[in-house]
Symmetry: none
Subunit: 196 residues, 4 copies
C-alpha cells in the first residue's frame, strides 16, 4: 500500500545501472570479455554479483550495454566536435585532443573494440563491436574528408588515413593500460599523420 514510489525505484535503478556500466567498462576494458568475472565487476560497482542479473540477464548483454554506453559517449564527443567553431582542421585538433585527454583518465573507454576478436565472441557481440567501430571510423573519415576539401589535410585515400589515426589512438590506449606512467605523445605528433 505504501511502498517506495515508482519514481524512487526508477531513480535507484538508474543510479545502480550507471555504476554497473562504469564498473563494467573498467573491468571489461582491462581484462577483456572472457577474463572479466561478473564477481569482479559487481565488486567494482559495490554490489553483490546476484544484483548484476537484475539489470542485465547475462554477461553478454552487460558487455553489449557497456559498448553501447561507450558508443553514446562517442556520439556526444562527435556532436561537441561538430559544434566547435573554426576550420575542419581545428575541429580535428579538438577531437583528437579530447581523445588523448580521455585516454589519460580512462583508457578503457576506447578499448572496447579491441578486446573481442573474431573467434572469441558470439555473433551478437561481434555485431555490436563492429557497429561501434564502423561508427568511429565513419565519423573520423567524414571529418578527414572535410579537411581534405579545405586543403588542410594531405590528399591520400581518406579510409587509409582514418585507419592510421584510429589505430594510433587505440594503440596508445593499450600503451596507457600497460604502462600507465609513460608519457603520451603530444597532439601534433599524432596529427602529423594527416599532414603532407
Amino acid at each position: 500500500m505504501c511502498p517506495r514510489s515508482a519514481e524512487q525505484f526508477e531513480q535507484i535503478k538508474d543510479e545502480r545501472r550507471r555504476a554497473l556500466l562504469r564498473a563494467a567498462r573498467v573491468v571489461f576494458g582491462r581484462k577483456g570479455f572472457a577474463a572479466a568475472k561478473i564477481a569482479d565487476i559487481a565488486a567494482q560497482a559495490g554490489m553483490s554479483h546476484g544484483l548484476v542479473y537484475h539489470y542485465y540477464p547475462e554477461k553478454e548483454s552487460l558487455f553489449a550495454a557497456t559498448v553501447e554506453a561507450s558508443e553514446e559517449g562517442w556520439d556526444v564527443l562527435v556532436a561537441l566536435t561538430r559544434a566547435q567553431p573554426g576550420t575542419p582542421w581545428e575541429r580535428l585538433v579538438y577531437l583528437c585532443g579530447q581523445m588523448i585527454a580521455g585516454l589519460r583518465e580512462e583508457p578503457e573507454h576506447l578499448l572496447m573494440t579491441v578486446h573481442v576478436h573474431a573467434e572469441g565472441a558470439s555473433p551478437g557481440l561481434r555485431d555490436v563491436l563492429r557497429r561501434f567501430r564502423q561508427r568511429v571510423l565513419g565519423d573520423v573519415e567524414a571529418m578527414i574528408r572535410e579537411g581534405q576539401r579545405a586543403g588542410e589535410i594531405t590528399q591520400g585515400p581518406p579510409a587509409e588515413l582514418t585507419r592510421a589515426l584510429v589505430a594510433m589512438v587505440q594503440g596508445l590506449a593499450i600503451n596507457r593500460l600497460v604502462e600507465p606512467d609513460a608519457a603520451l605523445p603530444p597532439l601534433d605528433v599524432v596529427l602529423r599523420i594527416l599532414r603532407s
Copy 2:
C-alpha cells in the same frame, strides 16, 4: 612396438613443437589468453590436447613460450634491419615495411603484448610480456635516436615518438584482425609521424 631412431624422434618432436607454437600464436593472438582454450590450440596444431602437456606443463608456460618465440622473431628482424646498408632512416623504412608486411600475413604476431593487461594476468605472464614490449620499444627508440642524430628524424623526445610509432603498428594489427579486408595505410603515412 613403434621403433624409430632417436633422430627421427627428435625431429618429430621439434616439428610438433614448432607447429604447437605457431598454433598457439594464432589462437592466443586472436582470442587472448583467457578465451583461448588448450583444446583449440591443439586442434589448430593437429594434435590431441593431452599431447600439449608433453611440451609445456601449463597453459601459462605455453603462452610464455609463444611470447618468447615472437621475441626471437623480433630479434631476427632487428638484426636484419641493422645489417641493412644505407642511412638510419632507410633502415627504419625497412623495419616498418617488414612489420606492415608481417601484419598482412599474420596479424597475431604483434598482438601478444596487447591481450594480457595489468590485472588479467599472473605476475609471471605480465613480466614476460613487459620484457617483450620493453625490448621492442628499446630497439625502435635506439633507431629513432640514430635517425635524429643523422638529422633525418624530427627532434621531439624519442620515447614519445617511439610510443606513437609502436602504438600505430599495434593498432593496425588489431584493425587487421577485425577487418581483414581493409587496406592498410601505406608506409609513408605511418612514417610521417617521425618527420618534421
Copy 3:
C-alpha cells in the same frame, strides 16, 4: 497513511491468502515443488513475490499449506459423499464422479501427492504428503469395504482395490495435464475395477 478498518484488513488478508493458495496449487501441481518458482506463484496470484512471505515464511510452508487445503477439500468431498442417500455403491459412484469432474476443471488438485517423491523432498514435506495420501487411501478403502459387505463390490483385498482405483484417478490427472483435450474415460470404465 492508509487507514482501513480492522475487518477490511482481515478480509483483504483472507482473500489474498485464498488467491495465493489457489495459485500455488496450480503452479505446484503443474511443475512440481522444485520447478515452481515463488515468483511464478506470486504472479499467478497477482501479487509481488515479497508479499508471499507475509503469508508463508518459506516455500516449504506454502507447499504444505497447499497440500492441507487440498486435504480439506478432500474432507469436504468425503463428508458430502457420506451424506448421500443410497447404497455404498451409489456413494462410490458419486465420489468417483466428483473426482473425475474435478479433474476436468483443475487437474492440479489431485496431483499434489504425485510431485514430491521420496528423495526429492525434505522429511517435513514428505510427511505432509504421506498423510494426505493415507487419508485418501483410508477413506476410499472404508467405502470399498462397505460396498463389499453390501455385496456390491468384488471380494478381493480392499487395500489392493483401493490402490488400483486411486492410481487410476491420479494417472488420469496426469493425462489431463499433459493432454488437456483428450477425453477422459467414462465413469463406468473407471469403476469396473471394483466389479467382479
Copy 4:
C-alpha cells in the same frame, strides 16, 4: 603412437554411457527433472560430475536420452508382446504382466512421462516426452482394437480404454515410488477395465 585402441575407447564409452543412463533414469524418475542434480546422477553412476558432460552436453540432453532409452525399452517389450502366441487378450495379459513386474523392480521406468509437465519443461523436452507418451498410447490402443475385433474386449471407444489402462499403470508406478512396500493389485484387477 601406441595409445588405447579405438575399440577400447568405444567400449569404455559405451559402458559408461549405459551406467549414466541407468543412473539418470533412477534419479530423474524419482525427483523429476528440476529437482534432480547432475551431481546426484553422477554419484549414482559412480563418476565425477564433469564426466557427465563428456557424454551429454547439457542436463536437457541427458534427460532426453534417458527418455529415449525408456522408449527403446518399451519398443522391445512391444515387439516381444507381438511375438507371443495366443489370442489378442492373452498378449495384453502378457504386456500388462510385464509392466507390473517392471514396476516392482524399477518404478522409475514408466515415470519419465509423468515428471515434466506443460510449463515446467523447455519445448524440446516436451516434444520428446509427448512422443514417448504417444507411442505408448498408440501401441496399447492398437492391441485393444485387436482384442475388440476378436470379441475379447468390451466395445467402448478404444482411446478412452487405453487412457484408463495407461493411467492406472502410471498411477501404480507413483504408488510404488511413494510406498515401495505396498502390494500392487493383481493383474486381473488391472485388466478388469477392459472387460464388459
